[in-house]
């Protein structure tokens, strides 16, 4: 016979009392386990939400980065093409030629020698890709009974730069006797390729009509340079040189202008800001805007994540403050219930204690019997409570990954804590049992 056997037999005999004790511990351990598990599940959910948000923000930022990169790439490509086609147009005029007169007046009244273009082409200037000598003046074109004042431009194909391989001419070469006209010229005069046009007492055949460009070109007509010089009586002279550069930035223009002024003294170089520049500017702006939006998306995303974190933290705080008083209340209630049940058990076993003491059991042995019973109540209640609390919290949190919300430290702490709680709650009743005077009980017969 052992005390342990005595405890076991008594528990089996008084199942209801033991079950109620277990239920009390179960409530305490269960509420504690459920709270801790819920908070853990909440933390995990927060992590999931924040991670998802971070991923979403990263995706959005990446999309915007790709858009920005695509814009930049598109810009670069467009810029390259545009500059190849148009470049930054530099107009080289005699130093005393008014630019306003040149543009508004439709031509120049001062000239420079055509040899200047050869000088420039042989100068070795690296940044200028194309050189186009021109003679330009306002003239009236006649087609049938229609007349129209246009910018008559005498031009020849590109002057190859001596220091590099010949390139495809930037502008179409106009053969002698031929004429290329702008869109508005063709419309006003009602001419099309193959029709005849007269000016400077000479007949020209329209060989090409340019598409509308929305600028002065629409009111221009191009003929062969030498023929233009002859008809205008300015052989060997030109009104200006169009220097078309590419693969350069606006910042480089000043350098180019200085180079040209050095090579061709007595001339002035004017920048002709054209559509290409505007498009470049706008696309540069677009790229900057895309970059700004990317940054904005990142900041907005970061703010959203922070807000999400704050909101979840606030929710957690509310849960903690709620459980902060509910759980202790349940613990106190459970301890009280355990104490009352233990007291009831002691009273119920009063005579048994008296007899056992008469048989020679020491008071500490009696104390041990009741304390062992209490610890057993605590352990069984804690196991059942932990399982119930964990299951309830897992179901409540709808967490599919039980392994993630399972905290091995919790049962490791809850079990001894519950045993301790039950032992402490039963301490006084066990002491009462141990101090019971057997003579008082036996005399009551």
């Amino acid at each position: 016979m052992t005390l342990w056997r005595l405890v076991r037999r008594e528990i089996l005999h008084r199942k209801l009392n033991f079950a109620l004790g277990v239920l009390s511990v179960l409530a305490a351990a269960g509420s504690l386990a459920a709270t801790v598990t819920l908070l853990r599940a909440h933390d995990l959910r927060t992590e999931q939400i924040v991670s998802a948000k971070i991923a979403e923000v990263n995706r959005e930022v990446e999309q915007r980065r790709q858009i920005a990169a695509a814009s930049a790439a598109e810009l670069e490509e467009a810029y390259r093409k545009i500059m190849l086609k148009f470049g930054y147009n530099l107009l080289i005029l005699p130093a005393d030629q008014s630019v306003t007169d040149y543009h508004v007046g439709g031509g120049a009244d001062t000239y420079m020698p055509e040899a200047a273009v050869k000088t420039l082409s042989e100068s070795g200037i690296m940044t200028v890709q194309h050189l186009l000598p021109i003679v330009q003046r306002k003239q009236v074109l006649v087609a049938g009974d229609r007349r129209l004042e246009v910018h008559l431009v005498g031009c020849r194909g590109e002057v190859p730069l001596a220091h590099r391989d010949p390139m495809k001419p930037l502008l179409s070469t106009v053969p002698a006797g031929g004429m290329i006209v702008g869109q508005e010229v063709a419309r006003e005069l009602g001419v099309k390729p193959g029709d005849s046009v007269r000016t400077l007492e000479a007949d020209f055949q329209v060989i090409k009509v340019y598409e509308a460009r929305g600028n002065q070109d629409d009111f221009s007509a191009w003929i062969e340079l030498a023929q233009a010089q002859k008809l205008l009586g300015v052989e060997g002279k030109i009104t200006g040189i169009l220097a078309l550069s590419c693969v350069c930035t606006r910042a480089q223009l000043d350098e180019i202008k200085k180079d040209i002024a050095r090579i061709l003294p007595g001339t002035r170089v004017h920048t002709m800001v054209n559509d290409a520049v505007i498009r470049y500017e706008s696309r540069f702006q677009a790229a900057q805007e895309a970059e700004a939006r990317k940054t904005l998306a990142r900041r907005q995303g970061d703010r959203d994540i922070e807000r999400q974190r704050e909101s979840r933290a606030q929710l957690k705080g509310e849960i903690q403050s709620l459980t902060g008083w509910i759980v202790p209340l349940i613990l106190v209630g459970s301890a009280l219930a355990i104490a009352l049940l233990a007291l009831s058990n002691v009273r119920e076993r009063r005579r048994e204690i008296g007899v056992l003491r008469a048989l020679g059991l020491r008071s500490r042995q009696v104390f041990a019997v009741f304390l062992t019973r209490a610890v057993l109540t605590g352990v069984v209640g804690a196991c059942a409570g932990y399982l119930a609390g964990f299951a309830a919290a897992a179901a409540w949190a709808r967490s599919p990954a039980l392994s993630e919300i399972f905290d091995p430290a919790l049962p490791a702490i809850a079990l001894p804590a519950a045993a301790l709680l039950a032992a402490l709650a039963s301490w006084a009743p066990a002491t009462l049992a141990a101090r019971q005077d057997p003579a008082v009980v036996l005399r009551e017969e």
Binding site: M1, E10, G354, V355, L359, L361, R362, S363
Partner: protein, 220 residues
């Protein structure tokens, strides 16, 4: 074995003091079987409890195997009780959730001794309870319960047996069995102190004394 020297015991109550024992002296040696007779309230149970190291007297001395149990610490006194004394009560006081065998073995919780299980089986057989070994007290007759109580009292081979109205709830046949067992114990060298108000039970003892209002008459 047991000696009480001018033992007095008072119970103080709100309505006054009751003298349960008044200068009681008696002496029991090996083989003695003493019956103390008296009416209800005469102090029989108080005498038994004082002799059993359960109730300290207010005056006088109790010697158990030459040792004053009340001079010992409660723990040592309990140990002494477990080793030297066997109790038999009128109400049997079996532990309700323990089987017959477990009840008989209950004193082994107090005194660790080799062969307790064998001794229990021997006593169970001796009192004709072999077919009731695993029964609970509630499943036994009153006579069987008292035999279980007797077996329990004898488990640790005590030198003193204290019996408080052991036949009070028994029929004649069962009472005889119990009294025979007590006599047998005394014959074997033990000392028996039986308190009863039944003349038949007292007659089984070798000596009889009467307790009246806490005062022993007749000497032992």
């Amino acid at each position: 074995m047991l000696e009480l020297c001018e033992v007095s015991k008072l119970y103080r109550r709100p309505d006054g003091t009751v003298t349960a024992l008044r200068d009681v002296s008696l002496k029991l040696g090996a083989g003695d079987f003493l019956a103390v007779q008296g009416h209800s309230g005469s102090g029989k149970t108080t005498l038994l409890l004082s002799a059993g190291a359960l109730l300290a007297p207010d005056a006088g001395k109790v010697l158990l195997a030459g040792e004053d149990p009340y001079a010992l610490s409660p723990e040592r006194r309990a140990a002494l009780r477990g080793r030297k004394i066997g109790f038999v009560f009128q109400q049997f006081h079996l532990v309700s959730y323990l089987s017959v065998r477990e009840n008989v073995l209950a004193p082994s919780l107090a005194v660790e001794a080799d062969g307790s299980a064998a001794r229990a089986d021997e006593l169970i057989a001796r009192f004709g309870l072999s077919d009731r070994v695993n029964h609970l007290p509630a499943e036994l007759s009153t006579g069987e319960r008292q035999r279980v109580a007797l077996a329990r009292a004898l488990l640790n081979r005590p030198s003193l047996l204290l019996a408080d109205e052991p036949t009070g709830n028994l029929d004649a046949a069962n009472a005889r069995t119990v009294l025979d067992a007590l006599a047998e114990f005394a014959d074997a060298g033990g000392a028996v102190l039986l308190v009863t108000h039944h003349d038949d039970a007292a007659a089984a003892a070798r000596h009889i004394v009467r307790l009246t209002n806490g005062k022993l008459e007749g000497g032992a």
